[in-house]
Subunit: 414 residues, 2 copies
């Protein structure tokens, strides 16, 4: 079946916002077996919008839209659909009452213009929106479907997951279900991850797709079956095969946050953490403190940017003189000093050259990382070819990966 | 004149990449006086692509495309344009020689499939691409224009600025030129900035547009005139009016980086900087070290996440006991201690509650910031309603804004 996405709103055409909604939806469709052939952005203009719906209904089976469901005169998605289907929107008393309640719960009275959000045409059913005023529309007409959702991303995501996705899955699989599961990987690149899972990416049911994200590589497995139980069973057979090939890098499922995952290991073992950063300049501490409750285990971070600050932390003048500020030995001394000074059990330290210029004749992109767990140290040396900002971001992530890998393997600690 | 954008590539329809090219181009068109009515994403399919070009040429005067100019069989932009105009692509010896040179300079021989990047149709002129193998196409046909550029963003941006924008400006203004200038603002929200510039946003030449970006608010002024000198003159008359209304928040022009700007002020005055962070968890140090050469002035950052770490920095047990870890008094003591401990002239400190839970009965989103310049302190208290990540990002930016404002006003230091 052919699908098409319409993103509606003049702000898209003025370049005021990036169309992340289309990207979100595009990622969701392959798992449903839908072929996405077109994405279009259209402004808040009734006749152009109606034209876009007319064309979409001609060439596609499923039309998915976001935006244009607000209460103002500029919000014309409902009107355009009604024009194309030659139907008339009518206020639905039940929807209107619900909308007035939504405002009342927030201690406000409903502006009268919001009434238009309580309208439907005969071909449309409402899609509940528990976190906003705009219900969606599910329209069936001549064996075609239009699913219209709000443009606010978190409202759209919720309505997609809870309302549109199950309805589409039912329609496409004839009552079947689609279940997805994600494994998140760290410390490995996308092409390396694809190589590792090998021919599993060609599996048809479940399917396997890889995505490079800010928090690592995501592997998404998607199964289709007649029932939830059968889909789960397919995944239960498939997931261990995937895991077996990437075990070393998997840190959790869709809900996992990498800093929180490392934090949970530290909290569970009662270990306190400190950092000493030069090259990553505070980014490692910032990454660690992304996790809510990080104060349970993260005690102190030292951004020892100058040689003086490294000496004050406890790195000896001899070490600095002999090896320089960018060196494994110096990083190692920083980790030891940070652990002792903060009275922590574990420390992570970095030195390097984030660029853009060379320093101390050390090449741009070089990063030394040392993890110190109760006196046992592990070192890593990496070279990045990227911008200063990205060097810091990836360097911090890889430093935390080194800590995580050691904590995982250090059974004596658990 | 009506414009339309086509973003070409199956990876867009699979959700593998977000279409930032369309957003970039959409932002550029209003200054040209072009009305952008449609943006479409189309996959690498010759007949669907030709269909998209046919439709775009029917309803728009200018069609701007990115993607599909590579050397592989999937790259079909040239073929689709040729199909629609009923012309035949021919290899151009001069382009081919240039392409072979491009590879030779990199010490490689050209793969034969790249020859198709040296083709043109009679209606097309090549647009040079000094940083990639794919030249663009500038096509004029029946008073309509197609400008096709590569999909790689930095190649596209360069080709747009150097080749397409001047050609379009000439065509639209009849030989005139368009000149833009940007002011970057910090410490102010977008709606507040719009309010401040007031009726200037309705100016027709130069125009004034506001954009909310990660590094603050951008105000872009764009003038059209017959010559470069006249356009510059228009801007010279307009810019002071804009500046006068937002002076307090302007930190630079299009090329300015906020951390580098603050760093330049510190470097110039020979001031050394230290930080002491609790709530921002290292993000402030990380922001400061975004600037190349930050080691000239940034000596040390302390991420004193625990009460013990705050005591070790030099905050008295009495202060912590009496005011708690989230308090202006504690923040003030941290700033003083950090400045002294790091032997710096200036220090910035933060405490607060990044959430998601309340702590010490301090509300989620609260942030205290203190700037200490050679003993003189300035305090700020803010509440953010946002995520933990965004709290840290904005908190660090606002803390640096506080420092910048004080450095600017502190004439005794300069």
């Amino acid at each position: 079946m052919r699908a098409e996405i319409l993103s509606i709103g003049t702000e898209l055409l003025l370049g005021q916002i990036v169309d992340t909604n289309a990207n979100y939806l595009a990622q969701q469709l392959p798992a449903l077996g839908l072929d996405l052939l077109y994405i279009s952005q259209v402004g808040d203009n009734r006749s152009r919008l109606a034209g876009a719906f007319r064309q979409a209904l001609e060439r596609s089976d499923v039309v998915i839209t976001s935006g244009g469901l607000g209460p103002t005169e500029d919000d014309l998605t409902r009107e355009a659909i009604a024009d194309v289907l030659n139907e008339t929107p009518q206020v639905q008393p039940a929807l209107e009452a619900h909308l007035r309640e939504f405002f009342a719960r927030r201690g406000r009275s409903m502006p009268e213009r919001n009434v238009k959000q309580a309208t439907l045409i005969p071909s449309a059913k409402p899609l509940p929106n528990p976190i906003g005023t705009a219900p969606g529309w599910w329209v069936e007409h001549n064996h075609k479907v239009i699913a219209s959702m709000p443009g606010v991303p978190h409202e759209m995501h919720k309505m997609w997951e809870e309302q549109v996705l199950p309805r589409l899955a039912k329609r496409i699989t004839g009552g079947g279900v689609i279940v997805s599961r994600t494994l998140k990987l760290i410390g490995i690149g996308e092409s390396h991850a694809e190589e590792a899972v090998g021919e599993l990416t060609r599996s048809l049911n479940p399917t396997l797709a890889t995505y490079a994200k800010q928090d690592g590589i995501h592997l998404r497995m998607t199964a289709k079956a007649a029932t939830q139980a059968e889909a789960e069973k397919l995944l239960q057979g498939f997931e261990p095969q995937v895991r077996a090939r990437v075990e070393e890098w998997v840190y959790g499922d869709e809900s996992a946050s990498f800093p929180a995952m490392v934090g949970a290991m530290l909290r569970q073992r009662g270990l306190k953490l400190a950092t000493a950063e030069s090259a990553t300049g505070g980014q490692l501490a910032s990454l660690i403190t992304e996790a809510p409750g990080a104060s349970d285990y993260f005690v102190a971070g030292y951004v020892t940017y100058s040689a003086d600050a490294k000496r004050a932390l406890g790195v000896s003048a001899e070490t600095l003189e002999r090896f320089g500020t960018v060196a494994q030995e110096t990083t190692s001394a920083m980790a030891l000093a940070a652990r002792q000074k903060a009275n922590a059990d574990v420390a992570v330290a970095t030195t390097g050259n984030a660029g853009p210029g060379a320093s101390e004749e050390k090449p741009v992109g070089l990063l030394h990382t040392v993890v110190d767990i109760q006196g046992r140290q592990v070192c890593s040396e990496t070279r990045y070819s990227t911008t200063r900002t990205e060097y810091k971001r990836r360097g911090a992530l890889d430093a935390l990966f080194l800590l995580w890998r050691e904590l995982k393997h250090d059974v004596k600690l658990s």
